[in-house]
């Protein structure tokens, strides 16, 4: 059926209203409905154009496809590739699998929603491998410090570092042990002085 206003496009919006006991139906196409301030008695001051525009915005924010506006601007981000293993983001979308451990960093932004919906929280609170690989240690420590915030996380971070401190001493890697000891001290001081984590504590002078 054709739009009752322009009589050119097919009507995709059908508005029904009971007016004075009688059912009235208006059939519109997307563009006529989008035109602002339709001066039709049925709308009674309601700006259908505004309503539809807001709806479009809400859909886009939720990540849902907006009818009539699919694929605009969505092409570019999907071409992402992991520089370490050459796995394409596209491949992840198709198979649900990543290409290598570094993909977690390469596609960090895209994985946020996946991780949030698949898991109960966004950080690991389980066991640790017996010894963290040496080269991962530096970046691991950096990211740990950035996470100073939740009390629960804090308890784990110090535990991890103390465990690794003991292990590095056992392995006679004293340089690493000293670095770990310094970081533990730093975190302890930060926790003691934090108004969030230690509200009743004495602030260091």
């Amino acid at each position: 059926m054709l739009c009752q206003i322009c009589k050119v496009n097919p009507a995709s919006i059908h508005i029904q209203e009971i007016v004075g006991g009688k059912k009235q139906t208006l059939h519109l196409c997307l563009s006529c409905a989008g035109k602002k301030s339709l001066a039709h008695a049925m709308f009674d001051g309601m700006d259908l154009g505004d309503i539809l525009n807001t709806l479009e915005q809400n859909l886009a924010e939720m990540g849902l496809p907006v009818p009539g506006k699919m694929n605009d601007g969505a092409a570019e981000p999907e071409k992402k590739v992991c520089p370490v293993c050459s796995w394409r983001l596209e491949q992840f979308r198709e198979t649900g699998r990543l290409g290598c451990p570094a993909c977690y960093t390469s596609f960090a932004a895209e994985l946020k929603t996946v991780l949030a919906s698949a898991h109960r929280a966004c950080f690991h609170t389980g066991k640790l491998p017996l010894y963290l690989p040496r080269k991962a240690m530096g970046s691991a420590l950096d990211s740990l410090e950035k996470q100073i915030g939740a009390k629960q996380t804090e308890k784990n971070r110090i535990e991890i570092l103390e465990h690794d401190l003991a292990e590095s001493v056992r392995r006679e890697e004293y340089e690493l042990a000293a670095e770990l000891r310094d970081r533990i001290e730093k975190i302890r001081r930060a926790v003691a002085g934090s108004p969030v984590l230690n509200p009743d504590g004495e602030k260091p002078g």
């Binding site: 293993c85 990543l98 290409g99 698949a118 109960r120 929280a121 991962a136 990211s143």
Partner: protein, 352 residues
């Protein structure tokens, strides 16, 4: 009939707790990957073979006598039996290059190399046994982590090829036999409504989310971030107990209000097992469910010989019916062989 004595089919001591009959078996799988190495799905056969060698090397000093089998040269009939026993996923042998299996002498622990992840360490035991299965797997994992460099980050935990599995990278599953719930509401909706808030997922014996042959439902955790290993095991065990209690309550209710449903399901199934000449694995599993329910609720007299249901379940799967030579037989021949075998068991003392 060739069988494989895997731990979950071993017979158990009878326990006084009626809920015990509802728990079929439990299993845990740990997924681990090597640091700095592409995941198996994005790797080359040569790199995968290198990973196999590294894992084999890492287990060289281990107390257990591991048997190493290269997937490319794995005996077809053994592979089929491992698949039936759910120790090997069906697609593992479709791309056998660079894949391997390491197993302890009686398959107590099985390690798959280069499935979806570099390592998948798994073990099963009959009944509700997650807390007994975990400690030896944990110890093995610790030993491996000290010899291999795992892909791990303090915030993301153990990194897996499937991001939905990262964190503890632990999958704990318990199989429950729930014929009462099936009979009383006919749909799985009640289970899904109970399972969802408990944070567990449901799947059937063959892995489907919507088919549950034999009324066997596997409860397993979803995800691994934000929980510790013991919290996961705790949660799945508690969910399994909660649902087992529900099953027993429903059975009591059925006995009171609709005993004929139990009798029909049980006696009809029993008759089929005693008389059929062709039977598929799924049908056999459903018949077992009926007979079990009737026996457990007292609507069928005890059979002359105690039946090990887990063992029977494994015995009627596809590969258990192959010829001793390993030669495959057609589906119809399988159906015939299965039915003959079952007539022998359920008509004791008679010539089949």
């Amino acid at each position: 009939m060739k069988g494989l004595t895997v731990p979950w089919v071993k017979s158990r001591r009878k326990r006084s707790d009626p809920a015990d009959a509802v728990f079929a078996w439990s299993g845990i799988r740990l997924a681990r990957n090597l640091d700095g190495e592409a995941f198996p799905g994005n790797s080359t056969p040569d790199r995968r073979r290198a990973v196999c060698a590294a894992v084999r090397e890492a287990l060289a000093g281990n107390a257990v006598q591991w048997t190493y089998r290269n997937a490319e040269s794995l005996d077809a009939s053994e592979a089929g039996l491992l698949e039936d026993a759910r120790l090997l996923p069906a697609d593992f042998l479709q791309n056998p290059q660079g894949r391997a299996i390491l197993a302890s002498p009686r398959y107590e622990t099985v390690i798959l190399v280069n499935g979806d992840d570099h390592l998948r360490i798994g073990a099963d035991l009959p009944g509700l046994a997650l807390n007994r299965i975990y400690p030896p797997l944990d110890a093995l994992d610790d030993e491996l982590s000290s010899r291999l460099s795992y892909a791990f980050s303090p915030s993301l935990g153990f990194m897996t090829s499937d991001p939905a599995a990262a964190g503890c990278a632990l999958r704990a599953g318990v199989f429950l036999h729930l014929p009462g719930i099936m009979l009383s509401c006919g749909e799985e909706k009640i289970l899904l409504r109970t399972a969802e808030p408990l944070g567990v997922a449901l799947s059937g014996f063959f892995g489907a989310k919507d088919e549950f042959p034999g009324n066997l439902y596997e409860l397993s955790n979803r995800g691994g971030l934000g929980e510790s290993e013991s919290e996961i095991l705790e949660r799945v065990t508690a969910a399994a107990r909660r649902i087992a209690d529900e099953e027993l309550t429903v059975r009591e209710d059925l006995k009171r209000r609709h005993p004929e449903r139990i009798q029909d399901f049980g006696l009809r199934s029993f008759a089929l097992l005693k008389n059929a000449y062709l039977m598929s694995a799924a049908e056999a599993m459903n018949c077992f469910s009926g007979v079990r329910l009737a026996l457990e609720t007292g609507y069928l007299d005890p059979l002359p010989a105690e039946i090990n249901w887990n063992e029977l379940l494994l015995g009627v799967q596809a590969h258990g019916l192959a010829l001793p030579s390993g030669e495959k037989i057609s589906t119809e021949e399988q159906a015939y062989a299965r039915a003959s075998f079952l007539r022998g068991i359920f008509n004791p003392g008679e010539r089949p």
